[in-house]
């Protein structure tokens, strides 16, 4: 009992996050018709499975310093395995509870991880990136050529209503599947968190930081890379299995370079140096992909710009930004940053607004003018052919930029002062 209380006090965020995840869909519940919003459920399921995928990607990038451009191959292959297993269960070839389908995906990912990892982990650093890119291209191309396993461009269609649930759930409704996704996301995240504490996880860090020394201590860095790659394949496969359950179809898109890139973006923007970083990144990237893409034609530009800004100014990602506040928090001066942050907020908003106005004007002038949509701010419709909005955008951008620069300088001064303060005041307990 005491252990449970202790665990809950230490790790209260876990159950809290799960409960929040389960309650979130009710915020969008359609009370008039008495059903969930299917779109929100699919979007949240997508966030859940992409979380697993991004975390598994970070087992390579963050933990082992391996930059992969073909991680989607493992995700996709796991997904295909799961889809085939579902079809076999449906046909009665063998019995397997629906709840364990993602595990089939995981085992598929593990198997292919071992197979591909054997070749890929011969190299590290840039060469590793190139091998994975080549493999990704080859496998994605195979998907179109070999009809037997991949089903060509139609992919493999499957039905998640298998009637083999051990909980007696039919899984016909998105809500039921969403619960399964939440459960598996929690399990996989927990397992990956524990994996970082294992000798293998620690050695992966060691080979990342100084692989010659790790070799010197007596570990074979290649074996460490290999095992880490296979383990990450397992989790990518689980994510793939969930994909098959959520969408009930698996196509070659799952193995495309775009899918790999999504994991890379999520892990890096969230912060590859921290375990939880990729979760933040996934939420942001999926929302950008599905949310902003509905509102703007130029959504890729925003993702790219956000990514470039992160690479240049916040290499630790969102999680890195947060952890930079740690020394100031320790001396209890976090509150002193509130005003400087508020002062940054307004010019920052203006700068972003200026950029968005200009980008959207361009986008509407070239791509979007046709779509029956008109560029609207409030009730006023804006004509990109007119010179005025362009001028406004440019002025707003310049004013915002100059102001932001000034405020940023002030903020920098304040920040350095606090950090210095922290250095002198802080003594180890």
């Amino acid at each position: 009992m005491k252990v449970v209380v202790h665990l809950l006090r230490r790790h209260w965020l876990w159950p809290a996050a799960i409960v929040a995840a389960l309650l979130l869909p009710f915020a969008f519940f359609d009370w008039a018709h008495g059903h969930h919003s299917g779109f929100v459920l699919v979007l949240l399921s997508q966030i859940g499975l992409m979380t697993i995928f991004a975390l598994s990607y970070n087992m390579l990038m963050g933990q082992s310093g391996l930059l992969s451009f073909g991680h989607a191959s493992l995700f996709g292959l796991g997904s295909y395995c799961a889809a085939h297993a579902m079809n076999a269960v449906k046909a009665g070839t063998f019995w397997l509870p629906t709840e364990l389908i993602p595990l089939v995906g995981g085992l598929g990912g593990l198997g292919f991880g071992i197979l591909l990892g054997y070749l890929a982990t011969k190299q590290r650093a840039t060469a590793f990136a190139m091998i994975t890119m080549g493999m990704g291209e080859l496998i994605a191309a195979c998907a179109l050529m070999f009809k037997g396993f991949f089903g060509g461009e139609d992919g493999i269609t499957t039905d998640r209503v298998l009637g083999t649930s051990i909980l007696g759930v039919s899984y016909s409704a998105p809500w039921q599947v969403y619960c399964l996704v939440v459960a598996w996301t929690a399990i996989a995240t927990l397992l990956m968190r524990l994996q970082t504490q294992t000798p293998l996880g620690r050695m992966a860090n060691a080979t990342r930081d100084n692989f010659e020394r790790a070799q010197f201590v007596g570990y074979d860095p290649r074996m460490v890379r290999f095992r880490q790659f296979a383990a990450s394949g397992f989790f990518a496969g689980i994510a793939g299995g969930l994909y098959a359950l959520v969408y009930q179809i698996v196509t070659f898109d799952t193995m495309s370079a775009d899918t790999s890139a999504a994991a890379l973006l999520a892990a890096y923007i969230g912060g590859s140096g921290s375990f939880y970083g990729p979760i933040l990144g996934t939420i942001l990237v999926v929302l950008l992909q599905s949310g902003v893409s509905l509102l703007s034609n130029a959504w890729m530009l925003y993702v790219g710009a956000l990514f470039v800004i992160m690479v240049m100014f916040a290499p630790g990602g969102l999680a890195g930004l947060i952890s930079r506040h740690e020394p100031i928090r320790r001396i209890g001066r976090l509150r002193a940053l509130l005003i400087p942050y508020l002062r940054l907020l307004f010019p920052g908003f203006i700068t972003v607004a200026g950029t968005v106005i200009l980008v959207e004007l361009t986008s509407f002038a070239t791509i979007g003018s046709a779509e029956g949509q008109h560029l609207q701010i409030g009730a006023r419709s804006i004509d990109p052919a007119n010179g005025m909005p362009w001028l406004t955008g440019a002025v707003v951008l310049v004013v915002g930029g100059v102001w932001l620069r000034r405020e940023a300088r002030n903020f920098g001064v304040r920040w350095n002062m606090l950090i210095e303060d922290a250095k002198t005041k802080w003594t180890r307990p």
Binding site: L13, A16, A17, A20, L24, A27, F28, D30, H33, S37, G38, F39, V40, L41, V42, L43, Q46, A141, L144, M145, K147, G152, E153, D154, G155, T157, D159, S172, A173, P174, Y243, Y247, Q248, I249, T251, D253, T254, D258, S274, Y276, I279, L280, I283, L287, S290, G291, S293, L294, N297, M300, A319, I322, S323, H325, E326, I367, A370, E371, G372, Q373
Partner: protein, 423 residues
């Protein structure tokens, strides 16, 4: 440190909730405009096929405005609700979710048979479990034959001919003096089956033509087609028959024209976004495409109303109006069926559309076949030549119809075993 991050995650979650709320309000924003008949339109508005999706959206918007100005449907107006599916299956299924969330009764999708197959599967499941928010799939351009055969569905209506029918039209349109052809297709299911269809129809309809070579090329991977042209040249073929589309078609024809060899190109897709531009003035009289419509048809048959309708689009957007018939017919069937049953209930409309006959805006007969929900419509073989009334993509070359195949002539049998819901 770890605590800080956890706290931040907690905040992020609440932020995510806020963001989602914002997204939801934007989503319902469009739903507020009541009293319109909403038609979801899912297409690639970003990604590699965006140019196609973008042009088609403009065409649909123009047609919807036109139909609304001429009475709409049951006295109400059509409202087009576009969704971006990034030409990815998963995103297309998400857009289907969004459409059914808003109780939109019709969804249009005109590109990509793989997306069509996924949508049909998704709609079958959705309509089975959610009889109160059923949705009809109006297919205006996904042409895989299987969609109205093995995979046929009661909820799917195709307003373009399937690729087997198009292959027959193409083979019928081959000139009489042709004796040697070369078949080239993309190496995926649609391409493989077209390769097979071409051979079958050539054997059946034109036994005098010899197939001197056949080739499957990796889909979207070839950057230089010169070696293929060398091979075609060496085979002595007079014509190249291909079902390729997109860059695989444009680059192929460009390489052939560059090599200056005496060859004609028979295609399905050369008229689509970017095709004529890539072919250029050197393609005069060399490229033949099989299509449901082009703007030179109306002046040729002397239909002034139809001509005015299509010219309006060209004047407004400075783009070709390649899909006028398929797109307009699909919405006109909805109009007619709604009028017939006096309701907008998708199931009733679906039953009403079976075996319905309608004249397209050019005045030709079309019929929605009951057995497989495949429309039968006239089809045109056209050559890209100088001196056409309407040119394609401002190249100075335009599509001139050379042969027409009427709806009744392409009535191919179907293997569809349709499952109908109880009325």
């Amino acid at each position: 440190m770890a605590n800080r991050i956890r706290l931040f995650i907690a905040r992020m979650i609440s932020l995510a909730v806020a963001l989602l709320c914002a997204a939801a309000t934007i989503g319902t924003d469009t739903a507020l405009a009541e009293d319109t008949v909403k038609v979801a339109y899912t297409s690639p508005l970003s990604g590699p096929f965006a140019q196609l999706g973008d042009t088609q959206l403009k065409e649909f918007q123009y047609i919807v405005d036109y139909l609304n100005a001429h009475g709409g449907v049951l006295g109400r107006k059509f409202e087009l609700v576009p969704f971006d599916n990034k030409s990815q299956v998963a995103d297309a299924l998400i857009t289907l979710q969004r459409a059914t969330d808003q109780n939109i009764p019709f969804i249009l999708q005109c590109s990509g048979s793989n997306i069509a197959a996924a949508l049909i599967d998704g709609i079958n499941k959705h309509n089975e479990y959610n009889p109160e928010s059923r949705i009809l799939y109006l297919d205006c351009g996904a042409v895989a034959t299987e969609l109205t055969n093995e995979k046929c569905s009661f909820w799917h209506f195709r307003f373009d001919m399937n690729s087997l029918m198009k292959s027959e039209v193409l083979v019928r349109g081959l000139p009489k003096d042709l004796t040697k052809v070369y078949l080239l297709n993309q190496d995926f299911i649609a391409g493989q089956s077209m390769q097979h269809d071409f051979k079958a129809f050539l054997a059946k309809l034109r036994p005098d033509i010899q197939v001197v070579g056949e080739e499957l090329i990796p889909f979207g991977k070839v950057k230089d087609f010169s070696p293929y042209i060398t091979k075609v040249k060496a085979s002595g073929a007079q014509a190249l028959v291909t079902g390729n589309f997109g860059p695989d078609l444009n680059l192929l024809i460009k390489a052939g024209l560059d090599a200056g060899i005496d060859l004609k190109y028979y295609t399905f897709s050369a008229q689509f976004a970017g095709g004529p531009t890539a072919i250029g003035p050197r393609g005069d009289g060399k490229v033949v495409s099989v299509m449901p419509f082009n703007e030179n048809v109306a002046p040729k048959i002397g239909n002034a109303d139809a001509d005015a309708f299509t010219k309006g689009f060209r004047d407004k957007f400075h783009l070709d109006f390649s899909d006028a018939v398929t797109f307009r017919t699909s919405l006109e069937y909805i109009q007619a069926a709604a009028k017939k049953v006096g309701s907008l209930d998708p199931t009733k409309i679906a039953f009403a559309m079976e075996d319905m006959q309608l004249k397209d805006f050019l005045g030709y007969d079309t019929v929605m076949r009951k057995a497989d929900h495949q429309v039968l419509m006239p089809y045109y073989t056209s050559t890209l030549t100088k001196g056409a009334q309407y040119d394609a993509e401002n190249t100075g070359l335009g599509w001139v119809p050379t042969a027409t195949v009427m709806a009744k002539d392409v009535d191919q049998p179907t293997t569809c075993n349709m499952k109908r819901p109880a009325m």
